[in-house]
């Protein structure tokens, strides 16, 4: 299981380099990085705080990783999710999938992001000039998840 929760930033490039180092069986690496946007879900934001359910978040991400490994021939897989206060431009989440051929890595990374959005216990609270506000879940996210 390669799932990490942390308040510190992550380095997508260092993780890709670490996962591929010394291997000659990997043909494809797909990475997804999600970043905090100034144009948030509730409007223009100055910061956001990610609340999470410690213990369940790790377990749920671990369950998603297991599902992805069962559905695609992955050579390795990593999910890193941050919590705490972030400002626009900060990285929030990283998913990396490694496989022999490209389609498995693309699909697994996409699947993990779609599932993570709707089932990993994280909640965003956005700060703006008018105060702070919880982000509402998006219907599209549920719909995307149900396509898999």
């Amino acid at each position: 299981m390669a799932v990490r929760l942390q308040s510190e930033p992550f380095d997508a490039g260092a993780e890709i380099a670490r996962l591929t180092k010394g291997r000659t069986d990997v043909g494809a690496v797909v990475s997804f990085t999600g970043l905090c946007r100034a144009d948030g879900e509730t409007g223009a934001i100055s910061a956001m705080t990610l609340e999470h359910f410690p213990g369940m978040a790790e377990e749920e991400l671990g369950r998603l990783e297991t599902q992805a490994r069962e559905r695609w021939p992955l050579l390795d897989c990593l999910i890193v999710h941050r919590y705490g206060r972030l400002v626009p431009g900060d990285p929030i989440v990283l998913v990396i999938a490694l496989s022999g051929h490209r389609q498995a890595a693309f699909e697994a990374a996409n699947f993990l992001m779609d599932y993570l959005k709707t089932s990993a216990p994280f909640w965003k609270n956005e700060e703006s000039e008018s105060g702070s506000q919880w982000v509402s879940a998006k219907v599209e996210d549920d719909q995307r998840r149900n396509l898999w």
Partner: protein, 83 residues
Amino acid sequence: MKLRYFAWVRERVGRGEEERDIPPDVGSIADLVAFLKTQGEEYEAAFENERVVRAAIDRIHVKPNASILGAQEIAFFPPMTGG
């Protein structure tokens, strides 16, 4: 029973967790929500729109009709917005 609350459910209830005695006739998550709503207006506010609030028993997502028999910890929270 240990109860935990997150995000705006936590804010409305006014605490992140609590220990609470649950009457023996409370068998499901839906029963538990109905019971909590009799325990004060903070719970009424948190579960105002019951269908929106999600639940987990011992850190696993469950539906409202799930049995709470044998549960150690039950958590309530809004739909997830991570990623």
